[in-house]
Symmetry: C2
Subunit: 230 residues, 2 copies
DNA sequence: GCGACACTTCGCCGGCCGCCGAAACATGGC
DNA sequence: GCCATGTTTCGGCGGCCGGCGAAGTGTCGC
Protein backbone atom coordinates (compact mmCIF):
# COMPACT_ATOMS: atom_id res chain seq x y z
CA UNK A 1 0.00 0.00 0.00
CA UNK A 2 1.04 3.55 -0.48
CA UNK A 3 1.78 5.33 2.73
CA UNK A 4 0.87 8.97 3.05
CA UNK A 5 3.89 10.92 1.83
CA UNK A 6 6.29 12.27 4.41
CA UNK A 7 8.07 15.59 4.29
CA UNK A 8 11.32 13.76 3.58
CA UNK A 9 9.99 11.83 0.62
CA UNK A 10 8.55 14.96 -0.88
CA UNK A 11 11.71 16.94 -0.24
CA UNK A 12 13.83 14.25 -1.80
CA UNK A 13 11.82 14.26 -5.01
CA UNK A 14 11.96 18.04 -4.98
CA UNK A 15 15.72 18.04 -4.55
CA UNK A 16 16.08 15.88 -7.61
CA UNK A 17 14.20 18.43 -9.70
CA UNK A 18 15.65 21.46 -7.98
CA UNK A 19 18.82 21.82 -10.01
CA UNK A 20 18.70 23.38 -13.50
CA UNK A 21 21.20 20.89 -14.87
CA UNK A 22 19.26 17.92 -13.60
CA UNK A 23 16.07 19.49 -14.90
CA UNK A 24 17.70 19.90 -18.31
CA UNK A 25 18.66 16.24 -18.31
CA UNK A 26 15.15 15.19 -17.44
CA UNK A 27 13.62 17.44 -20.07
CA UNK A 28 16.02 16.04 -22.65
CA UNK A 29 14.60 12.63 -21.84
CA UNK A 30 10.86 13.33 -21.76
CA UNK A 31 10.57 12.25 -25.38
CA UNK A 32 11.17 8.72 -24.12
CA UNK A 33 14.42 8.08 -25.96
CA UNK A 34 17.45 6.70 -24.18
CA UNK A 35 20.60 8.84 -24.41
CA UNK A 36 24.21 8.23 -23.37
CA UNK A 37 25.75 10.17 -20.50
CA UNK A 38 28.09 12.24 -22.67
CA UNK A 39 25.30 13.48 -24.90
CA UNK A 40 23.24 14.47 -21.87
CA UNK A 41 26.25 16.36 -20.50
CA UNK A 42 26.50 18.35 -23.74
CA UNK A 43 22.76 19.01 -23.83
CA UNK A 44 22.81 20.30 -20.27
CA UNK A 45 25.98 22.31 -20.86
CA UNK A 46 28.04 20.77 -18.08
CA UNK A 47 31.22 18.70 -17.76
CA UNK A 48 30.87 14.93 -18.13
CA UNK A 49 31.98 14.44 -14.56
CA UNK A 50 29.22 16.72 -13.32
CA UNK A 51 26.62 15.00 -15.47
CA UNK A 52 27.75 11.66 -14.13
CA UNK A 53 27.05 12.79 -10.60
CA UNK A 54 23.61 14.09 -11.58
CA UNK A 55 22.73 10.92 -13.44
CA UNK A 56 23.78 8.90 -10.43
CA UNK A 57 21.43 10.85 -8.21
CA UNK A 58 18.51 10.62 -10.63
CA UNK A 59 19.11 6.90 -10.94
CA UNK A 60 19.30 6.47 -7.20
CA UNK A 61 16.11 8.46 -6.85
CA UNK A 62 14.27 6.15 -9.22
CA UNK A 63 13.49 8.77 -11.85
CA UNK A 64 15.78 7.26 -14.48
CA UNK A 65 16.68 3.83 -15.75
CA UNK A 66 19.97 2.86 -17.33
CA UNK A 67 20.74 0.45 -20.14
CA UNK A 68 24.37 -0.63 -20.25
CA UNK A 69 25.82 -1.32 -23.68
CA UNK A 70 29.56 -1.78 -23.86
CA UNK A 71 31.27 1.37 -22.83
CA UNK A 72 28.05 3.37 -23.21
CA UNK A 73 25.36 3.82 -20.64
CA UNK A 74 22.01 4.87 -22.06
CA UNK A 75 19.66 6.69 -19.72
CA UNK A 76 15.92 7.05 -20.02
CA UNK A 77 13.05 8.03 -17.75
CA UNK A 78 11.93 5.20 -15.51
CA UNK A 79 8.25 5.29 -16.42
CA UNK A 80 5.52 7.12 -18.26
CA UNK A 81 4.46 8.42 -14.91
CA UNK A 82 7.68 10.40 -14.60
CA UNK A 83 7.33 12.01 -18.01
CA UNK A 84 3.71 12.79 -17.30
CA UNK A 85 4.48 14.56 -14.04
CA UNK A 86 7.40 16.46 -15.56
CA UNK A 87 5.11 17.95 -18.16
CA UNK A 88 2.41 18.73 -15.60
CA UNK A 89 4.56 20.30 -12.89
CA UNK A 90 5.22 23.71 -14.43
CA UNK A 91 1.48 24.19 -14.85
CA UNK A 92 1.24 24.49 -11.08
CA UNK A 93 2.55 28.00 -11.17
CA UNK A 94 -0.09 29.18 -13.60
CA UNK A 95 -2.99 29.27 -11.17
CA UNK A 96 -5.61 28.10 -13.68
CA UNK A 97 -6.08 31.46 -15.37
CA UNK A 98 -3.92 30.83 -18.38
CA UNK A 99 -5.08 33.39 -20.90
CA UNK A 100 -5.91 31.74 -24.23
CA UNK A 101 -3.46 33.69 -26.36
CA UNK A 102 -3.51 32.84 -30.04
CA UNK A 103 0.10 31.71 -29.70
CA UNK A 104 2.91 31.70 -32.19
CA UNK A 105 2.60 28.64 -34.35
CA UNK A 106 6.00 26.98 -34.13
CA UNK A 107 5.16 25.06 -37.26
CA UNK A 108 6.24 21.44 -37.43
CA UNK A 109 6.22 21.03 -33.68
CA UNK A 110 2.67 22.29 -33.43
CA UNK A 111 1.48 20.05 -36.23
CA UNK A 112 2.84 16.74 -35.02
CA UNK A 113 5.34 15.77 -32.38
CA UNK A 114 5.91 13.19 -29.70
CA UNK A 115 4.80 13.90 -26.16
CA UNK A 116 6.75 11.39 -24.19
CA UNK A 117 6.46 8.60 -26.75
CA UNK A 118 3.01 9.20 -28.12
CA UNK A 119 1.63 11.39 -30.87
CA UNK A 120 0.71 14.96 -29.94
CA UNK A 121 0.08 18.28 -31.67
CA UNK A 122 -2.75 19.05 -34.11
CA UNK A 123 -2.39 15.65 -35.71
CA UNK A 124 -2.52 13.97 -32.30
CA UNK A 125 -5.74 15.80 -31.48
CA UNK A 126 -7.26 14.97 -34.87
CA UNK A 127 -6.35 11.33 -34.43
CA UNK A 128 -7.93 11.22 -31.01
CA UNK A 129 -11.07 12.97 -32.23
CA UNK A 130 -11.34 10.57 -35.15
CA UNK A 131 -11.24 7.61 -32.82
CA UNK A 132 -13.78 9.14 -30.53
CA UNK A 133 -16.22 10.18 -33.25
CA UNK A 134 -16.34 6.63 -34.55
CA UNK A 135 -16.71 5.20 -31.04
CA UNK A 136 -13.47 3.31 -31.40
CA UNK A 137 -12.44 4.35 -27.92
CA UNK A 138 -14.39 4.44 -24.69
CA UNK A 139 -13.75 6.95 -21.95
CA UNK A 140 -13.23 5.88 -18.39
CA UNK A 141 -12.40 7.70 -15.17
CA UNK A 142 -8.86 8.52 -16.08
CA UNK A 143 -8.31 5.94 -18.75
CA UNK A 144 -9.26 5.32 -22.36
CA UNK A 145 -9.97 1.86 -23.76
CA UNK A 146 -10.32 0.60 -27.32
CA UNK A 147 -13.84 -0.58 -28.09
CA UNK A 148 -14.31 -3.88 -29.91
CA UNK A 149 -14.94 -2.18 -33.25
CA UNK A 150 -12.04 0.18 -32.63
CA UNK A 151 -9.66 -2.68 -31.95
CA UNK A 152 -10.78 -4.36 -35.16
CA UNK A 153 -10.39 -1.21 -37.22
CA UNK A 154 -6.90 -0.42 -35.94
CA UNK A 155 -5.86 -4.03 -36.26
CA UNK A 156 -7.00 -4.06 -39.88
CA UNK A 157 -5.09 -0.87 -40.58
CA UNK A 158 -1.96 -2.42 -39.10
CA UNK A 159 -1.72 0.16 -36.33
CA UNK A 160 -1.61 -2.29 -33.45
CA UNK A 161 1.63 -4.13 -32.72
CA UNK A 162 1.74 -7.90 -33.24
CA UNK A 163 0.60 -10.10 -30.43
CA UNK A 164 -1.65 -7.52 -28.84
CA UNK A 165 -4.80 -8.82 -30.51
CA UNK A 166 -6.45 -10.09 -27.36
CA UNK A 167 -4.82 -7.65 -24.95
CA UNK A 168 -6.59 -4.71 -23.48
CA UNK A 169 -4.39 -1.72 -24.10
CA UNK A 170 -5.14 1.16 -21.80
CA UNK A 171 -4.50 4.74 -22.76
CA UNK A 172 -5.29 8.05 -21.25
CA UNK A 173 -6.41 11.44 -22.41
CA UNK A 174 -3.38 13.71 -22.40
CA UNK A 175 -3.92 17.45 -22.52
CA UNK A 176 -1.99 19.10 -25.31
CA UNK A 177 -0.13 22.27 -24.43
CA UNK A 178 -0.43 23.77 -27.91
CA UNK A 179 -3.93 22.61 -28.73
CA UNK A 180 -5.53 22.62 -25.28
CA UNK A 181 -7.41 19.55 -26.31
CA UNK A 182 -6.96 15.88 -25.63
CA UNK A 183 -4.87 13.44 -27.55
CA UNK A 184 -4.21 9.75 -26.99
CA UNK A 185 -1.52 8.95 -24.43
CA UNK A 186 -0.62 6.06 -22.20
CA UNK A 187 0.46 2.62 -23.31
CA UNK A 188 -2.12 2.58 -26.10
CA UNK A 189 -0.93 5.92 -27.45
CA UNK A 190 2.67 4.77 -27.39
CA UNK A 191 1.90 1.49 -29.15
CA UNK A 192 -0.10 3.13 -31.92
CA UNK A 193 2.50 5.84 -32.43
CA UNK A 194 5.27 3.29 -32.74
CA UNK A 195 3.27 1.50 -35.41
CA UNK A 196 2.65 4.75 -37.26
CA UNK A 197 6.39 5.33 -37.43
CA UNK A 198 7.20 1.71 -38.24
CA UNK A 199 4.77 1.76 -41.16
CA UNK A 200 6.31 5.06 -42.30
CA UNK A 201 3.08 6.97 -42.00
CA UNK A 202 5.02 9.28 -39.73
CA UNK A 203 8.73 9.94 -39.90
CA UNK A 204 10.90 11.16 -37.05
CA UNK A 205 12.58 14.47 -37.62
CA UNK A 206 16.04 13.85 -36.24
CA UNK A 207 17.14 15.87 -33.26
CA UNK A 208 13.66 17.10 -32.55
CA UNK A 209 10.36 15.83 -31.28
CA UNK A 210 8.67 16.90 -34.51
CA UNK A 211 7.08 14.25 -36.74
CA UNK A 212 6.56 14.43 -40.50
CA UNK A 213 3.37 13.09 -42.06
CA UNK A 214 4.25 11.13 -45.23
CA UNK A 215 1.92 10.90 -48.27
CA UNK A 216 0.98 7.28 -47.53
CA UNK A 217 0.35 8.33 -43.95
CA UNK A 218 -1.93 11.12 -45.07
CA UNK A 219 -4.05 8.85 -47.25
CA UNK A 220 -3.99 6.06 -44.67
CA UNK A 221 -5.31 8.34 -41.98
CA UNK A 222 -7.97 9.68 -44.33
CA UNK A 223 -9.13 6.12 -44.94
CA UNK A 224 -9.41 5.73 -41.19
CA UNK A 225 -11.75 8.67 -41.04
CA UNK A 226 -9.27 11.04 -39.46
CA UNK A 227 -9.88 14.56 -40.65
CA UNK A 228 -7.06 17.08 -40.96
CA UNK A 229 -8.19 20.64 -41.28
CA UNK A 230 -5.20 21.98 -43.18
CA UNK B 1 -0.59 29.37 -24.11
CA UNK B 2 1.60 27.02 -22.20
CA UNK B 3 5.17 27.03 -23.37
CA UNK B 4 7.18 23.86 -23.15
CA UNK B 5 8.72 23.85 -19.70
CA UNK B 6 12.27 25.11 -19.37
CA UNK B 7 14.92 23.74 -17.09
CA UNK B 8 14.60 26.84 -14.94
CA UNK B 9 10.86 26.55 -14.45
CA UNK B 10 11.19 22.93 -13.49
CA UNK B 11 14.11 23.61 -11.17
CA UNK B 12 12.23 26.42 -9.48
CA UNK B 13 9.26 24.21 -8.70
CA UNK B 14 11.65 21.55 -7.50
CA UNK B 15 13.44 24.00 -5.22
CA UNK B 16 10.16 24.88 -3.58
CA UNK B 17 9.56 21.24 -2.69
CA UNK B 18 13.18 20.44 -1.94
CA UNK B 19 13.27 21.51 1.67
CA UNK B 20 11.81 19.25 4.39
CA UNK B 21 10.36 22.20 6.27
CA UNK B 22 8.61 23.55 3.21
CA UNK B 23 7.44 20.05 2.37
CA UNK B 24 6.01 19.72 5.87
CA UNK B 25 4.14 22.99 5.43
CA UNK B 26 2.69 21.86 2.12
CA UNK B 27 1.67 18.49 3.52
CA UNK B 28 0.02 20.21 6.46
CA UNK B 29 -2.09 22.09 3.94
CA UNK B 30 -3.10 19.29 1.56
CA UNK B 31 -6.33 18.82 3.46
CA UNK B 32 -7.40 22.14 1.98
CA UNK B 33 -7.78 24.07 5.21
CA UNK B 34 -6.22 27.45 5.67
CA UNK B 35 -3.82 27.73 8.61
CA UNK B 36 -2.06 30.70 10.21
CA UNK B 37 1.69 31.11 9.93
CA UNK B 38 2.40 30.38 13.58
CA UNK B 39 0.57 27.09 13.52
CA UNK B 40 2.44 26.02 10.40
CA UNK B 41 5.72 26.92 12.11
CA UNK B 42 4.84 24.64 15.02
CA UNK B 43 3.71 21.83 12.73
CA UNK B 44 6.96 22.01 10.79
CA UNK B 45 9.05 22.33 13.94
CA UNK B 46 10.81 25.57 13.04
CA UNK B 47 11.00 29.13 14.36
CA UNK B 48 8.27 31.55 13.22
CA UNK B 49 10.84 33.65 11.43
CA UNK B 50 12.01 30.65 9.44
CA UNK B 51 8.47 29.67 8.59
CA UNK B 52 7.77 33.18 7.45
CA UNK B 53 10.59 32.98 4.94
CA UNK B 54 9.37 29.62 3.65
CA UNK B 55 5.80 30.83 3.35
CA UNK B 56 7.01 33.85 1.44
CA UNK B 57 8.80 31.64 -1.05
CA UNK B 58 5.85 29.29 -1.49
CA UNK B 59 3.60 32.29 -1.99
CA UNK B 60 5.96 33.85 -4.50
CA UNK B 61 6.15 30.54 -6.30
CA UNK B 62 2.39 30.39 -6.65
CA UNK B 63 1.89 27.20 -4.65
CA UNK B 64 0.09 28.93 -1.79
CA UNK B 65 -2.52 31.60 -1.35
CA UNK B 66 -2.88 33.86 1.64
CA UNK B 67 -5.99 35.23 3.33
CA UNK B 68 -5.29 38.22 5.54
CA UNK B 69 -7.49 38.60 8.60
CA UNK B 70 -6.45 41.14 11.14
CA UNK B 71 -3.14 40.19 12.63
CA UNK B 72 -3.43 36.68 11.27
CA UNK B 73 -2.44 35.46 7.85
CA UNK B 74 -4.08 32.21 6.81
CA UNK B 75 -2.29 30.16 4.19
CA UNK B 76 -3.76 27.50 1.96
CA UNK B 77 -2.75 25.71 -1.23
CA UNK B 78 -3.41 27.76 -4.32
CA UNK B 79 -5.45 25.18 -6.22
CA UNK B 80 -6.67 21.61 -6.31
CA UNK B 81 -3.99 21.02 -8.87
CA UNK B 82 -1.29 21.64 -6.29
CA UNK B 83 -2.76 19.23 -3.77
CA UNK B 84 -3.26 16.65 -6.48
CA UNK B 85 0.35 16.81 -7.61
CA UNK B 86 1.65 16.76 -4.04
CA UNK B 87 -0.14 13.48 -3.43
CA UNK B 88 1.01 12.01 -6.74
CA UNK B 89 4.68 12.99 -6.61
CA UNK B 90 6.00 10.44 -4.13
CA UNK B 91 4.51 7.68 -6.30
CA UNK B 92 7.18 8.46 -8.88
CA UNK B 93 9.77 6.64 -6.87
CA UNK B 94 7.73 3.45 -6.77
CA UNK B 95 8.33 2.38 -10.38
CA UNK B 96 4.84 0.96 -10.94
CA UNK B 97 5.49 -2.36 -9.25
CA UNK B 98 3.77 -1.48 -6.01
CA UNK B 99 2.91 -4.89 -4.61
CA UNK B 100 -0.74 -5.09 -3.56
CA UNK B 101 -0.05 -5.81 0.08
CA UNK B 102 -3.11 -6.39 2.24
CA UNK B 103 -2.07 -3.31 4.20
CA UNK B 104 -2.54 -2.39 7.81
CA UNK B 105 -5.98 -0.92 8.19
CA UNK B 106 -5.42 2.36 9.99
CA UNK B 107 -9.04 2.35 10.96
CA UNK B 108 -10.90 5.64 10.89
CA UNK B 109 -8.58 7.12 8.29
CA UNK B 110 -9.14 4.21 5.93
CA UNK B 111 -12.89 4.34 6.37
CA UNK B 112 -13.50 8.02 5.65
CA UNK B 113 -11.22 11.01 5.41
CA UNK B 114 -10.71 14.12 3.37
CA UNK B 115 -8.33 14.06 0.44
CA UNK B 116 -7.72 17.70 -0.21
CA UNK B 117 -11.24 18.84 0.57
CA UNK B 118 -13.24 15.96 -0.79
CA UNK B 119 -14.38 12.66 0.64
CA UNK B 120 -11.98 9.73 0.34
CA UNK B 121 -11.43 6.30 1.90
CA UNK B 122 -13.81 3.33 1.73
CA UNK B 123 -16.79 5.62 2.13
CA UNK B 124 -15.52 7.86 -0.66
CA UNK B 125 -15.22 4.91 -2.99
CA UNK B 126 -18.66 3.59 -2.04
CA UNK B 127 -20.17 7.01 -2.63
CA UNK B 128 -18.56 7.25 -6.03
CA UNK B 129 -19.66 3.75 -6.98
CA UNK B 130 -23.20 4.49 -5.87
CA UNK B 131 -23.35 7.53 -8.11
CA UNK B 132 -21.90 5.64 -11.02
CA UNK B 133 -24.16 2.60 -10.68
CA UNK B 134 -27.22 4.80 -10.84
CA UNK B 135 -25.84 6.77 -13.79
CA UNK B 136 -25.87 9.95 -11.76
CA UNK B 137 -22.43 10.86 -13.06
CA UNK B 138 -20.99 10.70 -16.56
CA UNK B 139 -17.35 10.02 -17.24
CA UNK B 140 -15.30 12.22 -19.53
CA UNK B 141 -11.65 12.24 -20.54
CA UNK B 142 -10.35 13.45 -17.25
CA UNK B 143 -13.50 14.88 -15.80
CA UNK B 144 -16.71 13.69 -14.24
CA UNK B 145 -20.05 15.44 -14.70
CA UNK B 146 -23.38 15.10 -12.95
CA UNK B 147 -26.10 13.72 -15.23
CA UNK B 148 -29.51 15.39 -15.21
CA UNK B 149 -31.03 12.69 -13.03
CA UNK B 150 -27.98 12.76 -10.79
CA UNK B 151 -28.25 16.51 -10.28
CA UNK B 152 -31.92 16.13 -9.39
CA UNK B 153 -31.28 13.32 -6.94
CA UNK B 154 -28.47 15.11 -5.11
CA UNK B 155 -30.42 18.35 -5.10
CA UNK B 156 -33.39 16.58 -3.54
CA UNK B 157 -31.16 15.04 -0.90
CA UNK B 158 -29.76 18.49 -0.10
CA UNK B 159 -26.24 17.54 -1.05
CA UNK B 160 -25.68 20.36 -3.52
CA UNK B 161 -24.94 23.83 -2.18
CA UNK B 162 -27.51 26.58 -2.74
CA UNK B 163 -27.40 28.46 -5.97
CA UNK B 164 -25.71 25.73 -7.94
CA UNK B 165 -28.94 24.39 -9.39
CA UNK B 166 -28.21 25.42 -12.94
CA UNK B 167 -24.44 25.25 -12.73
CA UNK B 168 -22.43 22.45 -14.19
CA UNK B 169 -20.11 21.25 -11.47
CA UNK B 170 -17.14 19.34 -12.79
CA UNK B 171 -15.38 16.71 -10.76
CA UNK B 172 -12.70 14.21 -11.46
CA UNK B 173 -11.92 10.66 -10.56
CA UNK B 174 -9.28 10.69 -7.85
CA UNK B 175 -7.33 7.52 -7.17
CA UNK B 176 -7.43 6.50 -3.54
CA UNK B 177 -4.15 5.44 -1.97
CA UNK B 178 -5.75 3.08 0.50
CA UNK B 179 -8.46 1.67 -1.71
CA UNK B 180 -6.76 1.83 -5.10
CA UNK B 181 -10.09 2.76 -6.56
CA UNK B 182 -11.67 5.99 -7.66
CA UNK B 183 -13.57 8.44 -5.57
CA UNK B 184 -15.14 11.75 -6.44
CA UNK B 185 -12.74 14.71 -6.45
CA UNK B 186 -12.58 18.11 -8.06
CA UNK B 187 -14.95 21.00 -7.47
CA UNK B 188 -17.95 18.67 -7.46
CA UNK B 189 -16.37 16.42 -4.86
CA UNK B 190 -15.52 19.37 -2.67
CA UNK B 191 -19.02 20.86 -2.91
CA UNK B 192 -20.76 17.60 -2.05
CA UNK B 193 -18.40 16.88 0.82
CA UNK B 194 -18.99 20.29 2.31
CA UNK B 195 -22.72 19.68 2.20
CA UNK B 196 -22.28 16.27 3.83
CA UNK B 197 -20.50 17.93 6.73
CA UNK B 198 -22.89 20.87 6.90
CA UNK B 199 -25.87 18.54 7.14
CA UNK B 200 -24.01 16.56 9.82
CA UNK B 201 -24.03 13.34 7.86
CA UNK B 202 -20.28 13.42 8.33
CA UNK B 203 -18.45 15.01 11.24
CA UNK B 204 -14.87 16.23 11.20
CA UNK B 205 -12.57 14.52 13.63
CA UNK B 206 -10.55 17.41 14.97
CA UNK B 207 -6.85 17.46 14.30
CA UNK B 208 -7.07 14.73 11.72
CA UNK B 209 -8.34 14.18 8.24
CA UNK B 210 -10.61 11.40 9.46
CA UNK B 211 -14.38 11.78 9.12
CA UNK B 212 -17.07 10.18 11.28
CA UNK B 213 -20.26 8.87 9.71
CA UNK B 214 -23.23 9.87 11.90
CA UNK B 215 -26.42 7.75 12.21
CA UNK B 216 -28.49 10.18 10.10
CA UNK B 217 -25.67 10.13 7.57
CA UNK B 218 -25.73 6.37 7.45
CA UNK B 219 -29.44 6.19 6.78
CA UNK B 220 -29.33 9.14 4.39
CA UNK B 221 -26.68 7.50 2.30
CA UNK B 222 -28.62 4.24 2.32
CA UNK B 223 -31.65 6.08 0.98
CA UNK B 224 -29.42 7.39 -1.80
CA UNK B 225 -28.55 3.85 -2.79
CA UNK B 226 -25.01 3.98 -1.44
CA UNK B 227 -23.94 0.58 -0.17
CA UNK B 228 -21.48 0.19 2.68
CA UNK B 229 -20.03 -3.26 3.04
CA UNK B 230 -19.29 -3.15 6.74
C1' DG C 1 -2.51 54.94 24.42
C1' DC C 2 -0.32 50.77 26.01
C1' DG C 3 0.93 46.13 26.46
C1' DA C 4 0.09 41.54 24.24
C1' DC C 5 0.25 39.09 20.24
C1' DA C 6 1.15 37.62 15.27
C1' DC C 7 4.13 38.02 11.93
C1' DT C 8 8.07 39.86 9.19
C1' DT C 9 12.73 41.77 8.37
C1' DC C 10 17.52 41.69 9.22
C1' DG C 11 22.17 39.98 10.14
C1' DC C 12 24.97 36.30 10.96
C1' DC C 13 26.59 31.51 10.95
C1' DG C 14 27.31 26.81 9.30
C1' DG C 15 26.69 23.23 6.12
C1' DC C 16 25.39 21.37 1.95
C1' DC C 17 25.90 21.05 -2.96
C1' DG C 18 27.12 21.95 -7.69
C1' DC C 19 31.04 23.01 -10.38
C1' DC C 20 35.43 21.75 -12.55
C1' DG C 21 39.90 19.40 -13.76
C1' DA C 22 42.88 15.59 -13.04
C1' DA C 23 43.27 11.03 -12.64
C1' DA C 24 41.43 6.33 -12.60
C1' DC C 25 38.69 2.77 -14.69
C1' DA C 26 36.45 0.24 -18.41
C1' DT C 27 35.65 -0.95 -23.18
C1' DG C 28 36.51 -1.49 -28.06
C1' DG C 29 39.49 -1.15 -32.21
C1' DC C 30 43.92 -1.75 -34.23
C1' DG D 1 49.53 -4.68 -25.96
C1' DC D 2 48.37 0.13 -26.86
C1' DC D 3 45.78 4.09 -27.83
C1' DA D 4 41.22 6.39 -28.22
C1' DT D 5 36.89 6.96 -26.22
C1' DG D 6 33.18 6.99 -22.70
C1' DT D 7 32.39 7.28 -18.01
C1' DT D 8 33.31 7.53 -13.07
C1' DT D 9 35.89 8.94 -8.81
C1' DC D 10 38.22 12.30 -6.11
C1' DG D 11 39.70 16.76 -4.12
C1' DG D 12 39.08 21.46 -3.67
C1' DC D 13 36.66 25.71 -4.37
C1' DG D 14 32.80 28.92 -4.15
C1' DG D 15 28.09 30.14 -3.57
C1' DC D 16 23.62 29.41 -2.05
C1' DC D 17 20.37 28.51 1.51
C1' DG D 18 18.25 27.21 5.80
C1' DG D 19 18.72 27.89 10.60
C1' DC D 20 18.16 31.17 14.63
C1' DG D 21 17.52 35.34 17.62
C1' DA D 22 16.78 40.21 17.95
C1' DA D 23 14.52 44.00 16.48
C1' DG D 24 10.77 46.16 13.75
C1' DT D 25 5.81 46.57 11.97
C1' DG D 26 1.06 46.08 12.36
C1' DT D 27 -3.36 44.69 14.85
C1' DC D 28 -6.34 43.65 18.61
C1' DG D 29 -8.14 44.33 23.48
C1' DC D 30 -8.47 46.89 27.57
Amino acid sequence: MHAAPTRYQLAEIGSLLADPSRAAILLALVDGRARPAGELARMAGIAPSTASAHLGRLLEGGLLQVLEQGRHRYFRVASDHVAQVLEALPLLRVPHACAPEPAVDTRPLAFARTCYRHLAGRLGVAFYEGLRRQAWIELGEQAVRLSTTGAEALQAAGLLPHGTAGQVLAGRGCLDWTERRFHLGGALGVAVTEQLVRRDWLRRHDGSRALLLTPPGRSGLRRLGIVLDD
